[in-house]
Each structure stands twice: as structure tokens, then as C-alpha cells.
Symmetry: C2
Subunit: 356 residues, 2 copies
Amino acid sequence: MSVTLSDVAKRAGVSSKTVSRVVNNQGEVSKETRERILAVIQETGYHPNLFARGLVNQRSYTLAIVSWNLDKYSPSRFVMGVEKEADEQGYSILLTLFRRSKRENIDAFLNSLVARQVDGIIWQAPRVSNNLDWIIPERLAHLPPIVLNGLPNPYVNTVSMDNHHGALIATRHLIEQGWKRIGVITGRIEYVMSSERLRGWQDALREAGREPDFELVTSGDWSGESGAQAMEELLRQHPDLDAVFVSDDSAAIGVLHAARQAGRVVGYDLGVVGFDGQPEAAYYHPPLTTISQPIFELGRSAVQSLVRRIEARIREAEPLEPELHLAKPELVIRESSLRRFAVPTGGPRIEIPTLE
Amino acid sequence: MSVTLSDVAKRAGVSSKTVSRVVNNQGEVSKETRERILAVIQETGYHPNLFARGLVNQRSYTLAIVSWNLDKYSPSRFVMGVEKEADEQGYSILLTLFRRSKRENIDAFLNSLVARQVDGIIWQAPRVSNNLDWIIPERLAHLPPIVLNGLPNPYVNTVSMDNHHGALIATRHLIEQGWKRIGVITGRIEYVMSSERLRGWQDALREAGREPDFELVTSGDWSGESGAQAMEELLRQHPDLDAVFVSDDSAAIGVLHAARQAGRVVGYDLGVVGFDGQPEAAYYHPPLTTISQPIFELGRSAVQSLVRRIEARIREAEPLEPELHLAKPELVIRESSLRRFAVPTGGPRIEIPTLE
DNA sequence: GTGAAAGCGCTAACAC
DNA sequence: GTGTTAGCGCTTTCAC
């Protein structure tokens, strides 16, 4: 069927080992045999069977990524970063989306990755209650190196967005703008990511000498729809609310919508900050102040971190200390969070004066 | 290191072939040996090495997906559909993002997939000028089965959105609403997908007895930013424009923004229809009429189609005729496309409370 | 510089 | 029912 090493060897009149040397660019081979072999490879279209190679070397040059919510901006950007870096480092990506069914049988799922001989695993699926409890030395001993995208972990390398910090600077910004009653719409609260952002909101308020009012906490699921619903309810129950930190840009567009429906004018009598850094948020109405995350780069870091461990294990270097890479998100100020006192005027539209 | 078949065999006091039989659930094995073996597998934590298996069987149970623009809604939903269906059918997914670098050396790229022994390839990267010219019988003979996401192709199975139809019904809808000067903002025009949508726009106009005015054609790159720029220019050059078909929802949010900036009121003196079906478009201002695509399902179809071919090849059944699966997108009517004064009171959704 | 032989972990074919 | 043998395509000793 397909051309093998020894096919090439036969045609070139050498042993298969010599061909192997040429293919892998190792050991000394005389210039002329090398060229002869290269020619045969050209004309036969030979390419090595990575299964056979992997079987011998115990390496697949494949990384598994356990992802989720791939249709959302940040997770997909992360995966893109992972793919890019992996490609550059010579690794392929095995993509798995984490599902309830897999959650219920983590062992079987991990085994399936091990069976596929992946060299390492990037675990992007978020921490939900106890779903990461399998990350303990006994289990890890039987698994390839793992990099976690999430909270610091004593046993594996971690790369993470500093969610607490992001929420902190978002809320601080709202406070600085002079908003008084600042609510928060979190992601699903069983996700640690969400509670981290909630903590940031609290800490910002406390450091400003205000006690967070937990009546003003609602949760969504990162969708526009959930943002709209959460905001609607929040405004109904707390008409005095004058600002909200929404911990996702997609939810935020729903929030803006609900605010309009309720007759509020964002940027005038309501301040809104999002979280994510979706490029399209610059075109929301009004343009959304948000926390932008260097998420693509985080994906690259994850691979670098993982590859470092893989190489170390192969060299049987003494075990590395688990690393933590914490990326700092940044505040991007647009109109939605500003407090302007000019009264809206003009036509059917509500004219929002340009920024001072 | 890890437990092998013969390790299990030794501990169970049988031959490795017998263990293999149990693992693969094939052939008759006496109940008691089976149970003994199962017990040993349990306690040793044995799992088969898929490389070794693949080497023998010449199958990897892995599908490659060649994707692109993964941070955009539709491509990522497609991949999610692919992953789900593949998982259910017992296949893993090798994810590759198509890049310029790969485009420049398609042969090497394809070879790398073949080297990884993938059983099939789902080619989602779009057709750009001649980048699909390698899909010819001579090349395909050396490649695993391929399913293309795009235009019908005589040599391989194809799954596709009916882009022409989507654009047709989008433009028809604008015409029916009574808009007179209907422009279009396409995606990158070198993509066949974009020209198909442009064709739909033309055909809708012609069937209404109007000659398409190519002065009203602009192109973006599917981003909000490009949509905003394109719209700004379109309005500057053609102030009489009163409607636009934007062939992407992300671009459309930029269009809505630019329209506001120019003092136009969408849904009143400007009609806008998008294309994609992003859930968040329901919360744009105003909510966006769009063409929704069953894109997740299309991903599933792609896998089904591919697996059918893979199985056929293995059974050495006579070659199947290339199949084409064309999915019909649908019009979702929201406020952005309506001409307020012309609209009969249809339902709460059509009312624009903030206006007038 | 080059080659022969052994073996990675598994399964198919053919014994027994 | 169960075991033996051979071999998938490659690389790694260790010779020559």
C-alpha cells in the first residue's frame, strides 16, 4: 500500500537502517548514498509511519487538549494559541471536548488519552466543584505530563488568567467613575473562575470602604440571553442599581439590551463593564468597557510549559517544580462604564455625547 | 513502564492472544478465563496501546479536521459538531488550523496527516481561488477519504451550507420590506463562500426585476471592525443607500455601529440583515435579522459522511458515488430589517419602544 | 560509513 | 477454547 522504509532501502540498494539515518538526519552517511536515498524518497513519495515510530520511541508528538465551550470567544482563542505553538514545536493536537458523559467517568476518559499515547495533556476544562480531584500524585504517576488552565495546583503546571485581578480592576474602575450601587453578573457560580471574579468584585468594594451587597449578585451562563435575563431581574429588584460588572462580554450584550428595555441609558445612568476582550465589544451600543485577556498567548504558554515537562521527563532530569504562569488581564475603557452628565438630546436616537 | 497485553497474559496464566480476544470481545473464550483476565486487567490498569493496534490494523480511529477561523462562531460550531459525532462514532479528532504556511506547501501538509495515519480528513478550510486544486484523483488515491466543507466537488463527499440560498432569502426579505437601494457587504471576496453569497444578493434583485448595482458592493473580512469600515464608506459614497445585506453577524454589529455614527436609524431608515445565526445577534441594537445556519448539525453530517466512506473502503465495497449534503439556512426576522412605518403590528418583537 | 537482528505492543492466520 | 507464529514499520544495539 504505502511506501515503507525498506521499500526505499531496496530501491536505493542500501539497508533500511541507512535510510532511517537519512530520514532522521542522524549519524554519518556518505554524501552520495544520502543523495541517492533522498532521490528515491522524492520519487516514491515516502513518508514515515508515525505509529511505527511512536511504538518504538514511546512518543507520539501529540498533545491532547481537553477543551469546552469552543463556540465562545476565549476558549477558542486559547485553543488557537495552543495549536499554533504546538505546530511550531512539532506537535499535533488531539482535540477533546469535555462533556458530562466524560465527567462521569474521568478514569476511562484519561485512559483513552493514555491509550492514544499522547505525550501531554492540556486541561482547559474549568474547575467545577470537585471535578479536578483526580489530580493527585497517585494518578498523575500513570499519566503523561499535564498543564492545567485554572487555579494554581501543587502537582501540575498551571497557566491561568488572573481572574481575581481582572474583576478587581473592573470594579475599581466603576467605583472611580462614581457609580454607587454596583452589582455583578457572574458566570455559572459553580465554576471557580466565576467565584474568583466575584471575589475581585468584593475586594474592590471593600478596599473602597464599601461593604459588598450580596443582593446585587446574580449569575448567568456567559450567554447573551442569560445576561439579559439576569439584568432584567436585577433592575426589577434593585431599581437603584447604577452599575454592573458583567463577567463576560457575551452576557454583557444581553445586559445592554435589557438595560435599554428598562429605559436605562448605559454610560449615563448606568455603568457597565464586561470581561473577555471580544473585538466586537467595541461595536456594542454603547461600546463596551471590558477586561481584555491575552488568551491566545496563554494558550501558547500552556504548550511551552507542557513541552518543557515532556522534555524533562524524557531526559529523566530531576522532576521540575510545578510552575504557575499567571497572566494579567487589562482594562479597556470604552463608553459603557463612563458616567456622563449631559442630557441625551436629538432625534429618535439617544445621542450620547462624545468622550471628553 | 505501562502494562502490556502479555503482562496481563502472564499474570492470568494464558496466552496474549486470549487476552486480546477478551479485550476486543471477539471469538469464544470460556467464561472463567474471561473473568480471570478481566480481573487482572482491572487490577493492573491495563489499556491497549492504540499505536500498536493501529500499526497492525492500519487504522487509527482518528479523523483530521483542517479548520480555520476557530475564534469565529460558525467554524467553531462546526468543529463542535464534528467532535461530538466523532466521539459518538468512536473516533478521535486531530485538529489542524490552516495557515498560510501550510497553504504554501499543501503536499507536505497532507503528507503529515497521512503519516499520522488518520482514517479520514474533514477539510473545513474554505476554498480560496485555487487552494483546493489538489483534490484530483491522482492525489486522492494516496490519501484517506476526505469530506469537503464547501462547494460540490466531483471527487469527494461534500457538506455545505447553501450560501447562495441564504443570501437569496436575506435579500428577498429586504426587498419585500420595501427597501429600495440595497447594498451588500461580503466577506473576503477571494473566498468562494463570499462570492456565493454575493450571487444570492444579485439573483434576488434580478428576480425582483432590479438590476444589481455593483457600486453598492463592498467587502469586509467578517470582523466587526471591517463591517464598520465598509459601512462607513458605503454610506459616504451612497447616502441614498437604505438597506444592506451583511454576510456575517460579526461584521453586522460593526455595520449597526457605523450606521448609528452616521445618524441613521436601523429599522427605520435603514434595513440590515446579517448572516450566521450567532445567538448574541438577538441582543444587538436593534436586534439583528439574520440567516441562521444549522452549522453544528453540518459538522455531524460531515463525520457521518466521512465514516461511511471509511467503512466502505475497508469493506472494499465498490466505490461510492461522491455525495453532496446541502443544508438550508433560514431567515430569522428581528427588528433590524424592518421598515417601521410599513410594518403591520405583528408582535411584541417587532415593536421598537425606544423610537418615536 | 553501513548492515543484521531484535523488539516496541498488538492482531491475523493457523495450528492444536 | 486456546496457543504459536509471524509481521505491521520503525529504531536501537552492536557488529562489521
